[in-house]
Each structure stands twice: as C-alpha cells, then as structure tokens.
Assembly symmetry: C2
C-alpha cells in the first residue's frame, strides 16, 4: 500500500476543508482535554500490548472466539490491570470497554460483583465480594426464566425454607421456570445470584436473592440437581455463554439468602429490613450505564464508518459531463447519514446529562431522600427505549447506506448492528419501558391540574399558546424555536392520552382494561416526552457550552438537524395539535435539506472527532486513511474458505459432472482442430 | 412430550375459536385448491426424502453448511428431480424453493443459465445452455465490482479485442475493478458470464457480456491470470460462496462474446443487432421474481412464528386479580403483530398482480411491443424497494415482539431477518430504485398536463377534490374510501415534487443539480405512488374475490388495517395536503385499534393459512403445536458448546483462580466445623 490510492487522496482532501478544530470537538465529546488524554493512554497501552493486540476474531469459530475472549479478559484483569495500577475505581476504568472491544465476564463484573454489596449484609458482602472481584468465584445474575422476562412477579423458581436443616430448597417447578439467558451462566459461572420466590410454611414472600453454587469447586462439573448449559446461537454476543439453569431440589444454607433487605431467622421468622424500591435503583443504574457503551459508542462507530466510506466511494455521475463523484455529494446519501451523526451527538449529550442527574440522585439517597426515584425511573426507562430504538435503526440505515459492502462483516457494520439489536430487548423490553414511562406521565398529567410540576415534566405546566412562530428557514434553525415545538407537541399528546384514558374509565371500563385499550396512545405520549427531553437537553447543553465559534456552529447545526429531521419524519402530531401548519412543515423540510448541504463539507471532521482508532473500529470501510478497497481485498483473502484454491469437500460432489463438461468442451475443441 | 403442556392447550383453544375456513384462505393464497395440492405434494416428498430430510444446519460451521447445501442441491437436481419427472418448466418448480429452504446454485440456475439464451446467439445458446443446465459447467453472472454496484456504466473491467489472435483480452485495471459479490463465484463456478467494457481499436462500445472460463476443467484450479476466492463472512447466505475475481490479461476467443445484441467480426467490425433496452427486461424479471420468494414468503414465516408464540406466551397480569394472559391479548402486542400480517397479505396479492402484468407484457414483447416497459420498469423498481423495506422492517418488528427469544437462532427469526436485509440492497439498491421510479413519475406528471395517462398512473388525471368524506370509524373501514385517500395523497405529493423540481430548474440550476437537491422529495413521491398501488391493488383483489363471507370479511379487514396503519404511522402528507383533517386522523387511529381487537380472535387462523410445515419454519417458537419451551430446551441442549459439561479450553484458563476460591471457601467451611 505504498502509493496513495484515489480513495486515500479523496479523504485527504476532505480533511483539508474542515472548518473547525477536530481536536476541540473530541475534547468536548470526552468531557475535557484531560479525559481525552487518559482515554488515549488506555487505548494506546491496550492496543500495543502483545497479548491484547488485535487478532481478527471474525474468522474464528464461536468456540475459539469464546475461549480467546476469556484468555484476553483474564490476562487483562489479572496481569495488565495490576501492572498498570488500574482498578474498577480508577479513572481509566471508563475506557476499558472501548479499548478492549470484546471482553468476557461483563455480567460477572457489572452485575454479580456489585450485587454482593447491594443485596448482602456487611458480613455476606465481606464473604463473597472479594472472592468474586478476584475471579475466585465466577458468578452471574440469574433472574430471567425461559417463560418470563420483564415481568418480575411472574418468575416461577421457588426457594422453600426447610426449618429442619436450616436450608432453602430451590426448585424450578416446570421447564418454563428454568433460568434462561443470564450471561456467563452456561459454562463459566460456578455461582449464581438467583432470584426466586421465597416460601416459608406455604406462604409466599415475593422475589428474593440467593447465592447458589452450581458447579463443583474442584472439577467445575455441575452439582447434583443442577442442569446447566449454553442456550445456543444468538444474533451476536458470540463470546458470551448465555445459559440455562434447571434446579431440582438444590439446597443452600440459610446464610445464602442475601439479607440486606429482608432476613429469615432459623425458626423461619421473616423480617423486612428495607424498602424494595431500592431494587429499582439498581435497574436505573444499569439503564443509565448502558447508554454510553451500548448505544452512543456503537452508533458513533457506525457513523464514522459510513461517512468516511461515503467520502471515498465514487458512484454515478451527478453531472453527466463530469467524472464520478463521492456518494457523499448526493443529497439522498446526506439525508441518510447526517441525521444519524446528529443522533450520535444528541445521544451523547443527553446520556451525559442523565448520568449527572443520577449522581445527584445517589447523593440524595445517601441521606435517605428517594423522592426523585419515580421521575428518574420513568426517564431512564423511556430514554433507554428511545435511544436504543433510534440508534439501532440509525446504525442499520448507515449499514444500508454502504451498499453491498455494508452486508459484509469486513465493513464492521454487521457486528455493530447485531449487537445493538439486543439492547432493544435487554434491561427492560422497550414497549414495557415506554409504558412505564407513560404511567409516570399520566400521574403527572393528573397532578398538573392543581399542582406545579418540577424537573423534567415542568413543561407540562406551561399554558402558553402552542402555535410555532417560525416563518422562515432561519427561524427553524433557532434551537429555542425547535425546543418549543417539541415541548408543545409533547404537552398536547400527553394530555390527549390522559383524556383518552379518562374517557375509557368514565365509560365504565376497569383501569387495567382502559390502560390496555389506549396503550398505543400511551406509548406515543412517552415517546414524545422523551423526544422533548432529548431535544431540550442537547440544545441546552450546546447553548451553555464554552467553546470556539466554529465548533459551536457545528454543534448547533447538528442539534437543529436532529430536531428538524424528526419533525419532517413524523410531522403528524405537530400538525394535528396545531403546533405547526402545512406551510411551516414545508419550510422545515427545505431547512433540513439546506442544513445537509451546510454540514456536508465538515462531515468527515465531525466523525473524525469521535476519535476511534482503526484498531477499535475494525472496519475495512472506515479506516482513517480511506484505503477501503485494498483493505477489503486483504481481509477477504484471509477468509477460511480461501485456505485452499479448490474447496475439496464441495468440489468432490461436483467433479463427475464437471468432468463430463470437460469432455464435451474439449471434445468439441479437438474436433474443431 | 407426551402430555399437553399449558402452551399446547392455549393454542388449541385459539384454533377452536377461528371464525373462517383456514383451508379456503390457504387456497386463495396459493391461487387455487389445485395449487395447494401440488405444493403440499412437493413439500411432502422433499420433507420425507431420506437425503433431504431436515438436518439442523444451524449448529454447523459455515464450511460444513456450504458443503452440505451443495450435497443436497446436487442430489435434488441430479437424482430426485429426474426420478419425479420435475423440471424447471414443470408446475412443481415454483415450490422447490419453499420446500428446500436452503439450496445452492441459485445464481447459476436463475441468472447464468437463462443468460445463455437471453444474450447468446442460437449457436451460442446451443453450445452453453445444455452444459450449464446439467451442471456440466457451473457459472455465475459477474457484473458488480468492488468499486461499483448499481451504477452499471461505471464498471471498470475491460475486454479489448486483439485482431491478431481474434481474442478478447480481459483486464481489471485496478483493484476496485475486480468482480466482487457474484454468488457461487468464489469456489464453485468454473465459468462466468462477465460484463465488461468492450474496446476495439481504442474505442469504447459499452458493456457487453462475455463467457469466461476461470477454472481448469480437470483440476478446478484457477487458470493463469485469474485470482478468485470467497469474499468472507456476511450477515447471512452462509451457504453461498459470493466471490471476488481479479482478471489480468485473460484471453477468450472471439466467439465468447455473447452476440445476440451485438457482434464483433474477425476484422474488428462492430455491429449492433438489437436494442439494449432488452437488458432492462431481464432486470424487471429478476425484481418481479424475487418478491415472492424473498419478501412474501419470509415475512409470512415471521408472522406465523410471532403470532403463534404470542398466543402461548403468558406474561403479566392484564387484570390484577386474574392469571397471566397470552401477550396476544395486549393491544400493544397486537399493534406490533397484526399490521405485519396484513403486510404479508397485501404483498402477496400485489406481487401476484405484478406477475400478471409482467406476463401480459412478455406476450406483447413477442410481437415487438415494448411500450409498457418504462411503466413496468418504474413499478417493479418501486415495488421492489417498498416491499423489501416494509417487509424487512416488519420481520424485525416481529422478531423484537418475541422478546429475548427472538434474538436466539432457535426462534428461526434471525435467520429470516438477516437474509431479508440483503434484499434492500441487491437487484438494485432501494434508494436508486425509488429515484428511478420517481423519474418515470416526473415524466408522467409533465405529460398529464396535456394528455390522459393510463395504467398505474391513471389516477394522476383525476381532478376531483382531495378531501376525504370519512366521518366515522365505519367510513374508515371502507376500502373505497381508503383507496381514495391514498390516491389523493400520492397525486398531491407527486405534483409537489414536480413543482419543486421545476422551481429549481427555473431558478437556473442545471437539471442534474436540481434533481439532486430535491431527491428527498422525489423519493417520497415514489414511495407514496407505490403505497397507492399497494393499497389499490390489494383492495381491488379482495373486492373482486369470489369466496365465502367469513374469508371475505377477514381479507377486507386486513386490507383496511394495512391502509389505516400507514395513515396513522405517517399522517403528515395526508394532512398537509388536505386529504385528511385532525379529527379524521383521530378517528383513523381509533379505527385501527378497533380493528386489532376484531382480528385478534382469528389471528392464529390467519397465519395458519400460510400453511408452513414445522420443517419449513425451523422455529422452536413457531411450531404448530405451541410446545415452545420444551422445543427451545431440546434445541439448546444440542448446541456444540454443550458437548461436554465442562468447556475445557476456557476452564483451564480459570482453574487456578477458581481453585484458590475453593481453598478459601472450603477452608472457611472447615474452620466452621
């Protein structure tokens, strides 16, 4: 790859025309110049470590990948981290995920280890936490069952207290009750934090957490009564042994009930010690946490790949008298790519604001104040649903925008999309999340009649006219006008859903039926509330930002593009509620197209600012230097099918027929001579 | 699986409540009672054939699957078909695809073999056709290149005529010029039908088709100058060796230019013999053909799986005082599933109408009349784009509607979705397709001013008022009213796009720039034209159908649901153009929810009518008997990771740490004793 290819020259030219400081934007994305430096240091060390250095996982079988990922993770946790002095508390920790790309024991470290402290007494935490943190036991969080996911109260696994032996007897009463899906449970874990219905003397006490050993500590064989294994191929997560666990009369000592919230005395007396609402807190934590690593990061990667490739992929004649042009020059292509780039920025800013809010909440919890929990629960549920949905769809749009090559794993995009798809289902299925958010909104709408609302729903108080004053494209570039549009729409739609619900109840339906009948409207209300939050939060973030003018301009345009794109994509509720009229919708459309043209020259810079190294991107199409075609060719040549020129197994099946063809063709050739 | 599980009882009950004859509906879907019988016979023979009988491909490596698929295909073509007297002309042929699930040599049979007759002279066809049809040569259609897909004129491969030897010298001048993607090219094909720029004495003559031998007829090794191989992992199509082909000074005799459309004399004289427009005809054929097998069938499968599973999957309490209910009882779930079921029916009826139109067109072509080609080209391009897009999105909605299990390959859904995704890109990338359709529409809009339009654009003549008369839910259940709504919207949006285009041109922009600037509006115009076609065609099909009242009722409701769902999903253009007002939109929403409730009791029957055997569905969630959980468990147990209880390779990495944990835990236990 000595001389510069046409593609390399093209991307080089793009970079010469960037109007702002890419480094400054990178620092804003990271949070500060210092954070960028720490992140780069972690990435540099990991990328250059001889053991962790990239080895293409794509050409391995699933089992090879599974083992290789464990090898890397164990090395990372037990060798590299101690050597560097990195712990899960150190500032470097937040960049491990990004730099390592694939790692094992994410559930172990992210759910099992912290649950010792969240659910255990001080004594229990002391016993288990250190063992778990040191990989001396491997555990997982065993909650979902074959027949039950999001609906916690429906779980069927039972832990019955046996007073005689002071043990809990754990049973999955039917096949559908077996634990199913927990990551790392199939082959790795020898312990599980198990959620089961506690039963004492025939009385049910609801879901409780138990520490259950499932594999022998010496041989790693499953213990008696335990049937455990891998649940088979999934769309992605090849390196994770999501598992099934079927327990039949498995006994654990009384001390293995994690007893911070409730305890069982030797004689079977049950004592409640703290509110179950704390359990919601840990759900909120998981949902807040996943937005960065499972939504913002992969979407930003996909944007980087698709924009860079579109800058070098020449196809078609825009002007019939000139040469082929990069597809990025087509408005239809900009219309696919740039709104997704805007989404990546908006999601980044909004999820950062959510984390800030969560940190403040945690401080309040320490002083016993959990008043904000319902708001935070609703917001994190809704944001989780909306951002996973939008980003997954965005990544798929970007994948398709890369044409045929987007379908090849060499593009790096299928890996990203397939993994993101799961985020729409895990940690709370999205529809359920919207409905939980809507439940909070309906309560707020109710309250708003005689009380002033605060926080993220304060806009529901506003009784000013909902008519948008915009008359020109310039007006529609104003973030204040756009914020107001979204506020007005959300307010109307929430009120509308509330009145539909009331109407059904007044007509005599019981609440649960009424709720079911208006579910599609409730979901819409939740979505439009969250859209309001996203537009407002990101616009305010950008408004308040101290930075250079060119960067401010780009970020303002990205926020406007995000808001306009979603107005134009579904103007329905803006119009029917009188927030916008037809003429304004027409201007909004034109303004979006105008913005695409304005952002086009900076597109490569805007994705460069995400600052992914080639090693992290793992994409032939997205590499920094633009040399896409040579990379794809090199990548393809490594495919296992190309180990030999002739694929013997399949060829043998065809050989007799092909030899007959040879005889005909060569016979004909001879007779011709 | 002796006694009936709860799930089996649930689906049994569903079937007892079906209001119509499932068999009658199946016959309508198939076309007639006789067609159903032929289809079932083919399926029965293939499912019970000892060689073809299902063997789970999912737990095989890609290479095992590749070889297994070739083994089955060769057996099918060379043993079973001759035994049964089946040929590609026989009526049974249209059901091979469905019954076989995965087969090899689809490009060979579907594109290479017919191209001998389409592009070759009678003599050439005689030489090559029989060899290819008998698998005595394996070929593929080598058109797309690493750097070029849909834009045909950009292809870079060159065939230069050498008068001295009467040969063509074929070269890929740069890496991006190598052929890339053709199915079956990587390992199987020993010939390709190659599209290359013909050059004689330095003059370019455009794209022509050449027969090029690429592998040795005896050893199957690549010939000198040929670099060929598999392009690596893709999202799906594991059994297809999509390939790359890099040709450097490869010589083929003059006779290998397929010369039906043009020929080169020994002295290099070039003669055009027929119109290139005939090439469009073959593109239309491929696009018409793929809708049934790659859109309607997989979407129908996904519907079957998701609806059946939703009928047995109990989760959550609708009424807090009662038992858990099947998720199909939730309106939010119905709102995900039933519109996709409606889409499967609409796509079925519309693609059948398109085939009818194409057959009539072919008859006219025989008498030299190709007047209808532009209309058919535009329609097939737009329908290909719209139906692949809608169905792919629909299948993904259905996959997510199955919760976590939808992410497992055991559900059968990832296999369906991953394969469908490709259809949005192959045979013409969807955005390009919409724009080609729009080009035709813009010409029509222009013509409509002084000429009466006929055929699929005739509605553009109509100058009646666009205001919808609907005032009640009953009105919105009328197919005539719905058809009119879509007509009016399409008419307005097409006229709007045309006037935006004119405006840009009047402002002084050259046509190509104007076209680029308004591309998003042109795409919308094409989409809404196609939606109009889909709604009208399917409604008319149902209106004209002779069948029992209950079946008529169901089909009418499905058409109405389809039309209403898309109004409610994007009411924007209906409102801004004055086709519907806010109050009507509100009624349309309520009517959709009402329809969901009406269709709910028949949902299982409506998907049963697609008549997929368990063997064809390949889904633990979608099997006819509803016994989902035992099937998932049985399937998971077969996963390669479960061959041994302890996964030794990964366990060895953890053992030292886990043994330390054992020492701590057992030490503690001992000291306690």
């Amino acid at each position: 790859m000595a001389s510069m290819t046409t593609e390399m020259k093209l991307i080089d030219m793009e970079r010469k025309n960037i109007s702002f400081s890419v480094e400054e934007l990178t620092n804003i994305i990271d949070g500060s110049r210092e954070e960028t430096a720490i992140r780069r240091r972690v990435e540099h060390i990991i990328e250059n470590d001889p053991v962790l250095k990239h080895k293409s996982l794509l050409h391995m079988s699933r089992e090879e990948r599974f083992t290789e990922s464990i090898r890397r993770t164990v090395y990372f946790l037990k060798t590299l981290c101690p050597r560097m002095g990195w712990t899960s508390q150190s500032r470097e920790a937040r960049y491990f995920e990004r730099a390592l790309k694939e790692r094992s024991f994410v559930v172990h470290s992210g759910a099992f280890v912290p649950s010792m402290k969240s659910f255990g007494t001080k004594e229990q935490a002391e016993k288990w936490h250190k063992l778990a943190a040191n990989l001396n036991i491997i555990g997982t969080y065993a909650q979902t069952e074959l027949g039950h996911g999001t609906f916690l109260r429906g779980l069927e696994t039972v832990a019955t207290y046996d007073r005689a032996t002071q043990e809990f007897v754990i049973n999955c009463p039917r096949i559908s009750a077996m634990k199913w899906w927990p990551g790392e449970m199939g082959k790795s874990a020898n312990h599980v934090f198990l959620m089961a219905e506690l039963v004492i003397d025939g009385k049910k006490y609801g879901m409780h957490g138990f520490m259950v050993q499932i594999r022998d500590l010496t041989t790693h064989e499953p213990l008696p009564g335990v049937t455990v294994g891998d649940i088979g191929t999934k769309v992605s997560f090849e390196t994770v042994d999501n598992g099934f666990l079927y327990l039949r009369s498995v006994r654990v000592p009384r001390e293995n009930l994690l007893s911070k919230l409730a305890q069982v005395a030797p004689d079977g007396t049950y004592t409640k010690k703290a509110s179950d609402r704390l359990m919601y807190g840990s759900m909120v934590r998981l949902r807040v946490g996943l937005l960065g690593s499972e939504v913002v990061m992969p979407l930003s990667k996909a944007c980087t790949i698709a924009v860079r490739y579109s800058a070098v992929r020449r196809q078609g004649l825009l002007d019939p008298n000139k040469d082929e042009v990069p597809v990025l020059n087509y408005v239809s292509q900009q219309h696919k790519l740039l709104p997704q780039v805007a989404t990546a920025y908006v999601a980044n800013f909004a999820s950062k604001q959510l984390i800030k809010m969560y940190v403040i909440f945690l401080k309040k919890v320490d002083s016993g104040d959990i008043e904000q929990l319902p708001e935070l629960h609703a917001l994190s549920a809704g944001l989780k649903a909306m951002l996973t949905e939008q980003s997954t769809m965005g990544a798929e749009i970007l994948r398709r925008a890369c044409g045929g090559h987007g379908y090849s794993y060499g593009s790096g995009l299928p890996f990203i999309v397939n993994r993101m798809l799961a985020s729409c289902t895990y940690e709370g299925e999205n529809t359920v999340m919207y409905l939980q958010c809507a439940r909070y909104l309906m309560k707020c709408a109710d309250k708003a009649r005689d009380k002033k609302l605060t926080g993220t729903v304060a806009y529901l108080n506003d009784s000013s006219s909902g008519v948008c004053p915009a008359r020109t494209s310039d007006d529609f570039l104003s973030l204040n006008i756009l914020m107001k549009c979204y506020e007005n729409r959300a307010k109307c739609v929430i009120q509308q859903a509330a009145s539909k619900l009331q109407q059904k109840i007044r007509s005599g339906l019981p609440m649960h039926n009424a709720w079911n009948m208006v579910a599609p409207f409730l979901i819409r209300a939740a979505k439009e509330h969250i859209m309001q939050y996203l537009v407002e939060t990101s616009c305010k973030f950008v408004n308040d930002l101290t930075c250079s003018d060119p960067v401010k301009k780009i970020l303002t345009q990205l926020c406007a593009l995000y808001a306009l794109h979603h107005i134009n994509n579904s103007p329905g509720d803006f119009i029917t509620n009188g927030c916008l009229n037809s003429a304004q919708c027409d201007i909004a459309h034109d303004t979006e197209v105008y913005l695409l043209g304005i952002l086009r020259p900076d597109a490569v810079g805007i994705v460069d600012a995400f600052d992914f190294t080639d090693d992290i991107l793992q994409s032939c199409l997205g590499a920094y230097d633009g040399n896409v075609y040579e990379r794809l060719f090199e990548w393809a040549k490594e495919a296992p099918m190309n180990r030999t020129e002739v694929h013997q197994d399949s060829y043998q099946l065809l050989r007799p027929y092909l030899h007959k063809g040879r005889d005909v063709l060569e016979g004909a050739a001879k007779s011709k001579l």
